[in-house]
Point group: C2
Chain length 346, copies 2
């Protein structure tokens, strides 16, 4: 399938991920396909969130919107990390003002026992169709990134049932049912590995794992509960480069870097700290404070230049430190991208 796609014209992202020399760092933005774009909001009015995810034509259209509008160096598939929860048989809805809700959360080890790794290519075939359609429509302009949630983050939703400041129910379940919790994490990891390999087969050229709730864990717990199940995925997914974005887990950068995987950073981590902790060994991605896109265009450009200067232009992917905020003006998002394209080593 992949061989029928048009050849890639902009390989900055893939080169940066492989550690090859680039003339300037690539740039994309987490949640670049989304609510700050008026063309997205139009689709939002007409279709529900999961309609947008499950209709390949819509998902592809949304994925392409920021490519046309901002000229970023990568597309990232429009989808949601919780489609994996759906594939596992959980009923997920998005509630206004509350975010995702799991209507049949895991309450006991019995709920874990009845779970099996599903055939994700079948259950999530619409994602695979969206990927292939997007690759065809991209016509090789930029690479397509696929993604999934990391097991700890998916586990948090499956057990807690909804968003939470501290996911204490999810943590409680782990501490009081360790075997069942690890069984659940392992099933999520295996499902995710299958899912990502299916994405690769359908055409994604790089992958990102989002561990959004990593920062709720102590360093020891991250090493126990989060990382081993990310590693379980990495051991099975190797045909394209992978970026792990474990938000808030600055303390684990050193140990994560040993895996050789590219690492996403949130904006609390200084470039100097990140480079030192990872010993210059891996590609880093990040980490502009998304709220700084509320500064003036001139200030944004200045900050982006400084950020690249501090990270260095090699083994580096310019991005935000979290998803773009809905209230960001488009010309500010554009200034972010433009600043990278205009970047000159001084």
């Amino acid at each position: 399938m992949a061989s029928t796609f048009q050849p890639l014209q902009n390989d900055l992202l893939l080169k940066a991920l492989k550690g090859e020399t680039v003339e300037r760092p690539p740039v994309w933005m987490m949640r670049q396909a989304g609510r700050y774009l008026p063309e997205y909001r139009k689709l939002q009015e007409k279709y529900s969130f999961f309609e947008r995810c499950e209709t390949p034509e819509l998902a592809a259209e949304i994925t392409l919107q920021p490519i046309d509008r901002l000229g970023v160096d990568a597309a990232i598939l429009f989808s949601d990390i919780l489609v994996v929860a759906q594939a596992l048989g959980f009923e997920v809805t998005i509630e206004k003002g509350e975010g995702p809700v799991i209507h049949n959360p895991v309450k006991s080890s019995v709920d874990v026992d009845r779970l099996v790794v599903p055939d994700v290519s079948d259950r999530l075939h619409y994602v695979m169709d969206a990927i292939t359609l997007t690759r065809n429509e991209l016509k090789g302009r930029v690479p397509l990134i696929g993604f999934a949630g990391a097991p700890w983050t998916i586990y948090c939703y499956l057990v807690e049932g909804h968003c939470s400041r501290n996911f204490s129910k999810a943590k409680q379940f782990y501490y009081q049912n360790r075997e069942a919790a690890e069984g659940l994490l392992s099933i999520i990891a295996d499902t995710t590995a299958d899912y990502l390999n299916a994405q690769i087969k359908s055409g994604v050229q790089a992958l990102q794992l989002f561990d959004s709730w990593a920062g709720l864990l102590s360093p020891e717990d991250f090493g126990r509960i989060a990382w081993p199940f990310i590693q379980q995925i990495l051991d099975r997914v190797y045909d394209v480069p992978v970026i792990v974005f474990a938000k808030g887990s600055w303390y684990a950068l050193e140990s994560m870097a040993k895996s050789g995987v590219a690492l996403g950073l949130d904006w609390t981590v200084s470039p100097e700290f990140a480079r030192k902790a990872t010993n210059g060994k891996v590609t880093l991605q990040g980490n502009f404070d998304p709220s700084h896109l509320l500064l003036s265009v001139a200030e944004i450009k200045d900050e982006v230049r400084k950020m690249i200067g501090r990270f260095g232009s090699q083994r580096y992917i310019v991005n935000l430190g979290h998803g773009i905020l809905p209230e960001i003006p488009i010309d500010h998002a554009k200034a972010f991208v433009d600043a990278v394209k205009e970047y000159q080593e001084s």
Copy 2:
């Protein structure tokens, strides 16, 4: 006034804060007066949140509950960081499931211009009364800690108007109205300094500043927006030791330690990182993951022992890394305290 109180019998906390040698580290718990205690929940049924804060007899009773029940080495006044917002003329209510809401938030520089530093001893006289009453009822058993929110955290509520995952409105106001925002932060700092000095006069023997939303800032923004206004308070409050708990600001430990103030830590910071970053110069407090109180009593005791071993028993105050969760069984909270009291240097 303070001279009429009974002499202090347990000075572990004050000695640890001064860097004096102690036979074992002191222990208390953030939010130790609160929802995990059935005697608190009884008062909760009868009185609204602000009734409990504003009635000195109730505030004193609640403050004392964990002393009797758990035998902690310090009392911390039952109150709320947003009483300072009320003193500044903001209407604050606590809404179920949503937390604090400010009904007249700051929307423009005009809203800042009309603010003046209030006479806090008058406006918050009920806090002062509660402090004196608590001191009298404590009869010198343990010291009483007073507290306030740090300016950045109070600012977040005043501008955003309610709790938020990223306080983007509060950040936006800073980036787009820097002078007004800094004016607001400065007024909060001056009010807070007056407030803390009034607390000292009424009888508190140590203070804690809570910067709950520090972790939303990049290292540069913390140095620009948060720390200078904490320093503005510290410059005026020096009669009792102060603990600064800037949650999520691991990156600023090194610079904060230069002020000589004691530092609170959340559980993402390892003892080794914290001691190294602060160069052994300051007293550290923390940082047990509150959700680990859901482990078994034996596991809790084991983890507490290990934690003390890693921090060292001197210049150290045992605490949680954030407030105790409402669902913690009392005997688990008690095990946390007991483990410290049973601690033997190996």
